[in-house]
Amino acid sequence: MNDLLAGVAAAVRLIVTLDHDLVEISLRSLQVSLSAVFIAALIGLPFGAWLSVSRFRYRRIAIAVLNALMGLPPVVVGLVVYILLSRSGPFGVFNLLFTPTAMIIAQVIIVTPIIASLAHQAIRELWFFYHDLLISLNTSKWQRMKTLLWDGRRSLLTATLTGFGRAIGEIGAIMIVGGNIDHLTRVLTTAIALEVGKGDFPLAIGLGIILISLAIIINLAVHILSRTERAGRW
């Protein structure tokens, strides 16, 4: 209990004093996770829509695989990305290992199936409702996808924010490919792990509170900016 209270006090102190290190790692956390989610949404949302409106032979298997990939173990993703980006790996020449870019790549791999799968589920329901109308209007596949993505934007926003939640709290993969290097790849989650390792629980809890607060603020900001709760308006 004392640790918890000390953690809250540490969090308040860090925020009030605008601790330089805290600001730096918080911004890096946001930079990495928001970039990863942005890229994952660019891939996952259209893919989910495409999967909803397409009929092909192995569609059911593709959906099952996509759903299974939602539970990709971050440590395994980190390991694979590490091997691919390491000097002896196929992408070693780009020198990306232990950089924020490597962390973004790992998070994109983790988050894309989550966004794509949730998008597919949301759009599939809308497609079922719109099906006859869109066929009747002689729409192309691209027009159907565009319509469904636009009209399903509220559910898709939730899917994207779910992806963000996963990304901002992720540690396994980014620890491996980022290395938790001070002033370079240290983010909130890896900093928490470090402080726990050092036995500084109050600071770790303080950082945890800040991490959760950041996630809540981002979610609230997105909902407010996109006016999802404004009555009578789509």
């Binding site: 209007l137 002689n138 009209d151 308006r233 789509w234």
Partner: protein
């Protein structure tokens, strides 16, 4: 003068779903003008016939031949479903949607949508969420969205089911107005009164087969088949 996509000719057309014959084999021809009402008891195959004509159902056998190639046919038809499909958009955006699909600028499409919203009495609701409309208003929205492209053929599947008298009257006035401005109406209903009020021609369908195709007066005054007679007399058809 643009060549009409009508007449449409059905020869031995049938539709099967899950191994069950829903309609057919049907032989029928629909000419260029007026309002054809497809009438029959529930489950007779009225909706399936309309959907087949519009290309929403696959033929199991036979043929459906329009007087134009398929892409042209689709562009010159509209369909209003029994349960109106209301998109998650404002009323005016719903109505403008087909025009935007066809490449109109958003501004032009919305201006035209506002005009149609006014025509169907939805002007005051233009910026509202379309899903907040009442059943009758949703049906009017669906009609406006179907008519905004000025289709040559308009399919209506039970356009006033579950609507009260006032809403039904409004919908019928809109259908009449579309018909008078040259749109070919092909509608399904099981409402006798509506068939009498709107129909120039009746297609009576029972168990997926056309029992009778005649002018409205002839169908209601001198039905030729036993099934049609029983239906007109108000008997229950099994």
């Amino acid at each position: 003068m643009v060549k009409s996509i009508l007449p449409v000719v059905l020869k031995g057309a049938s539709v099967k779903k899950g191994g069950v014959q829903i309609i057919g084999p049907l032989d029928m021809q629909l000419l260029e003008a007026g309002c054809t009402v497809v009438i029959g008891p529930n489950g007779a195959g009225k909706t399936t016939l309309l959907r087949l004509l519009h290309g929403l159902e696959r033929l199991k056998s036979g043929s459906v031949t329009w007087n134009a190639p398929r892409p042209e046919i689709n562009a010159r038809q509209s369909f209003v479903f029994q349960t109106p499909v209301v998109m998650r958009r404002s009323v005016r955006e719903n109505i403008a949607y087909p025009l935007i699909l066809r490449g109109s600028s958003r501004k032009k499409a919305l201006t035209e949508a506002d005009r149609w919203a006014e025509n169907v009495g939805l002007k005051a609701h233009g910026h509202q969420d379309a899903n907040a409309l009442s059943g009758g208003e949703k049906q009017k929205l669906a009609l406006a969205r179907a008519l905004i492209t000025r289709p040559e053929v308009l399919f209506l599947d039970e356009p006033s089911t579950n609507l009260d008298g006032a809403s039904t009257l409004e919908i019928e006035n809109l259908i009449r107005s579309a018909r008078n401005s040259g749109t070919r109406i092909i509608m399904a209903t099981h409402d006798f009164g509506q068939a009498r009020r709107l129909g120039d021609e009746i297609v009576f369908i029972h168990h997926g087969r056309i029992c009778e195709q005649a002018s409205t007066d002839m169908f209601f005054n001198t039905p030729q088949t036993a099934e049609a007679r029983a239906f007109v007399d108000g008997d229950i058809l099994l």
